[in-house]
Each structure stands twice: as C-alpha cells, then as structure tokens.
C-alpha cells in the first residue's frame, strides 16, 4: 500500500426534503421565527444597475411544476464583480449588493421570482470573458444533490456566442435551455427562466 494522502472526504449530500422551507425560508412557509429573513430581493435602493425580475418554474420529467423547490442565485454586480475577496478584478464593488438570493417555488403556481440587477460580464479562465450570467442552485424533495446551472440573457447574443461555458455544450440545441427570454410587462423587465429537471428540453446542469 502506498502512503496515505490524508485528505478528509466530503460529507455526503442528502435530499433537502419536502420541508426545506421551514429551515431556509420560514417566513415563506408561513411562520415567523427569525428577525432577519433571507429572501428573493437582491437589489436595495442604492444598488447600481438595471432592475430586472427573473421568474419561472422548475419542472419535473412529466412537466409538472416542482412546487417544493428551493432555489438560490449567486451573481456579480452590474459592473461584473463578485462581492467576495477572491474576485480582485479591477471593477467597482457595490457595497449595497451582496449578490445572493433565495426563494421557494410558490406552493400553488410553482412560480419562483427574484428581483435583482442585471450582472455585468465577468472575466473567465485564460482571459476569456464570460457572458453575463446568474448562477443557480436548486434543491428539493427528490433531488439528492443540489443542481447547478447558469442563466444567460437573450439580449446578449454576441456575448453568449463567445461565452466559454456555453461553447462547451456540444449539442448546440441544448444551449438554449440556459438562455432566459427578455420580456416586458407593466413597465418591468422580466426574464423568464424555466428549469427542466428531466426530459426533452432538459436544462443543462453542471458538475462544478
């Protein structure tokens, strides 16, 4: 036997279960316990950037909405910088923007919503620029390990065409599963992003 490397092993994932809301978004599950509740509004009054709404449904293999899904997003600010020490890009930090939000699918409609600002492009590996995108993480009953994906923007055709991650998706038809359609409703900019867990237009999920 060779020498032991001595690394620890990552703890195994387990499903978040049907009652994930009481732990992570209790106010949305109808119970008031914490003073500070994490939520789906990422942009404060002073946050820089174009205000956008993201909405959609998580759909299962029969295209039934996953009504107990818990979704988190992580994104850069409007200038394209993450609010984290590891991001040392020479761009301004926005002190009024953490860049993270969490919500549950609405129990009846299955619709989820986020209110945020459109992120700027972030530098990727080997000096290639990544197209503006929002990082998604989805957990629920029936999902054994959180699913990672990205949402890109339909109005960023040039940037998307050059995005290093979209270009890794061999089947070009599948790239469209990551591109949210820009729409306007009641004067608000809304990006619609459905996440399909299984089936013909299954969303591309990443092993990060």
């Amino acid at each position: 036997m060779p020498q032991s490397l001595g690394y620890l092993k990552e703890t195994a994932s387990q499903t978040a279960g049907p009652y994930v809301h009481i732990g992570l978004i209790p106010h949305m599950a109808g119970f008031d316990i914490f003073q500070n509740n994490f939520g789906n509004v990422l942009a404060g009054a002073a946050t820089r950037g174009e205000r956008i709404t993201i909405e959609g449904r998580v759909l299962d293999g029969t295209r039934t909405p996953v009504r107990d899904a818990l979704i988190e997003i992580w994104q850069a600010n409007a200038d394209g910088r993450y609010n984290h020490a590891a991001d040392q890009q020479k761009k301004a930090l926005d002190p009024d923007f953490r860049g993270w939000g969490r919500t549950g699918a609405e129990f009846k409609s299955g619709l989820y919503t986020f209110e945020t600002v459109k992120p700027g492009a972030v530098i990727g590996r080997h000096t290639r620029v990544m197209a503006p995108h929002i990082n998604f993480w989805i957990v629920s009953r029936g999902i054994n390990i959180g699913l990672h994906t990205r949402m890109y923007f339909s109005d960023e055709t040039d940037a998307n065409a050059a995005d290093p991650v979209l270009n890794l998706i061999e089947q070009e038809d599948r790239r469209t599963t990551l591109i949210a359609k820009r729409t306007n409703r009641d004067g608000k900019v809304i990006y619609v992003f459905d996440i399909v867990l299984q089936g013909d237009d299954e969303t591309v999920f990443f092993d990060v």
């Binding site: 032991s4 001595g6 690394y7 620890l8 092993k9 990552e10 703890t11 195994a12 994932s13 387990q14 499903t15 978040a16 279960g17 049907p18 009652y19 994930v20 009481i22 732990g23 992570l24 209790p26 599950a29 119970f31 316990i33 500070n36 299962d60 293999g61 029969t62 039934t64 107990d68 988190e72 992580w74 850069a76 993450y82 609010n83 984290h84 590891a86 991001d87 972030v122 530098i123 990727g124 590996r125 080997h126 990082n135 993480w137 957990v139 009953r141 029936g142 999902i143 054994n144 390990i145 991650v165 998706i169 867990l197 299984q198 299954e202 969303t203 999920f205 990443f206 092993d207 990060v208």
Partner: protein, 262 residues
C-alpha cells in the same frame, strides 16, 4: 509511521500549508461523486421524476464557482441557535434536550471559519411545523424546529435543540425516516454549497432507510451518523451529539496560470 502520516494526525496543521507552497489557493478539487447519492435512485421514488437523464457537464472553476456569499453576525439573531427557546411561547418544548456541535472543515483539514450553517427538523414526536406535514403526531406549541449559526474562527459551531423523532413518509407503505436533522452549509465558494442530513448513533431505522441508502458507500453513510458525545453533555441538563462536516477543499495552483482576477 512516515512523516506525512505523523503530520496527518487530527489536530495538526492543514496539509497544504505545511508541505506545499500555497501560491494562489483558488479552485476546488473535483468533487468525488462516488461519495454522493446519484440523482436517479429508484429506491427513493421521488428522485425518479426529478433526476436529470443527461450527463452533467463538468466545468473547471471560474470566479462564478469559487466566490460565494459572505454572512456575518448582523444576519442572524441571538436565539437563532437555540431551538429550545427560539419558538417557546408558554413553556419549553417536550423532548430530549441535546446539544449538537462540531467543526466544519474542508478536505485539506482546514477549518471553514465564519460560514453560515442552517438546520431544521421535526419535533420530538416526528411532526414538522410545516403546512404540508399531515402526520397525525401533534405539533409542539413551543417548538419551531429551525435555527442557524455561524462557525467561529476555528470552523466550530454548536446549537441546542430537542432530539427529533422518526416519522412516516409515503415512499413504500411502511417507510419511516430515521430521526434526523437537516443541515445546510455554505462554505467560502458557491461550488461548496451542501445540504445533508445528520443521523443519530444507534438508530435502527438508519439501516433500512431508502434515503440514507441513496449513498452507496457505507463509510460515507457512517460519516452522516453523529456519535453521542458525553464530554460535551451538560450534566443534569443536556446530552450532546458531535457532527463534523467536510466541505470541498481548494487546490493550490503551483505552476499553472492563475485564475484571472486574482
């Protein structure tokens, strides 16, 4: 015992800081998916319709994966880690009083300091305070069942609660979950994000639970089982269970071009 084994003792220096010059600790190690449940696990029926059928696309980490939200004491309240008190209305919740504590570490044995740990569970009877839980066991008027805390500078966390009971669920006709506490942990980068469940030493339901057995590796299952920790118990007050959590470790880039932006 060779040098590396000696240094690998539990309370010594994290590996990479000692042996390898850590120039730009950046990306995470590739995840060892053999330690995790697969998406499709037919013994756990709901996973059948909610699991991707296509292969995941593996991505080398970029800034999007190695950065993540940072939380602080301003984000949480003083009673958030005390499930015995944080929903008590006219008395204390019924059940076995316990402390749950441990360390959040990464694969390099480095503590993960100041990270957000959230937890939720059923009450002592196995009933959740959630509108969708219709199990006939009673709701405890003095128990909410959720809390959160930040790990300290040593990656250490603790909370106190009532030991949850097992409960029935609609998988097979007579399926019961072992007593468990759900945990959610952030880490320092979004790709470390993890949700898991803690089980209790000695629970006979663990061996027959289809959700536990979505994990194929028996040692990985063992690492989800918290041992009774008599030294952390408070005599005449609270028993204690220890639950350490390991998140993905970061690589050190020795010769490669560093990740842009760093």
């Amino acid at each position: 015992m060779n040098v590396r084994q000696q240094v690998s003792e539990r309370d010594s220096e994290p590996l990479h800081d000692t042996f390898l010059p850590s120039i730009h600790p950046v990306e995470f190690y590739q995840r060892d998916l053999s330690l995790h449940p697969p998406a499709y696990a037919p013994g756990y029926k709901t996973s059948v319709g909610r699991s991707p059928r296509k292969a995941l696309l593996s991505l080398q980490n970029s800034l999007s994966e190695i950065t993540g939200p940072v939380f602080g004491q301003n984000d949480i309240g003083l009673l958030d880690n005390d499930l015995i008190r944080n929903y008590a209305r006219n008395g204390e919740p019924i059940g076995e009083r316990i402390i749950v504590h441990g360390q959040v570490l990464d694969e390099n044995r480095k503590p993960v300091p100041n990270t957000l740990v959230e937890f939720w569970q059923a009450n002592a009877a196995g009933r959740y305070r959630h509108k969708n839980d219709t199990y006939l066991a009673p709701v405890d008027p003095n128990f909410g069942g959720c809390g959160r805390t930040l790990t300290d500078d040593n990656g250490y966390y603790y909370f106190r609660t009532i030991k949850p009971g097992p409960y029935p669920w609609r998988n097979y006709v007579n399926s019961w979950r072992p007593a468990h506490i759900h945990f959610s942990i952030f880490g320092s980068g979004f790709a470390q994000r993890l949700i898991t469940q803690m089980y209790f030493e000695g629970d006979p339901l663990i061996k027959i639970c289809p959700i536990v057995h979505t994990v194929a590796d028996e040692s990985a299952i063992d690492r989800l089982i918290a041992p009774l920790d008599m030294n952390a118990a408070i005599p005449m007050d609270l028993l204690a269970y220890r639950f350490d959590i390991v998140l993905r470790g970061r690589r050190s880039t020795l010769f490669e071009n560093r990740l842009d932006g760093n």
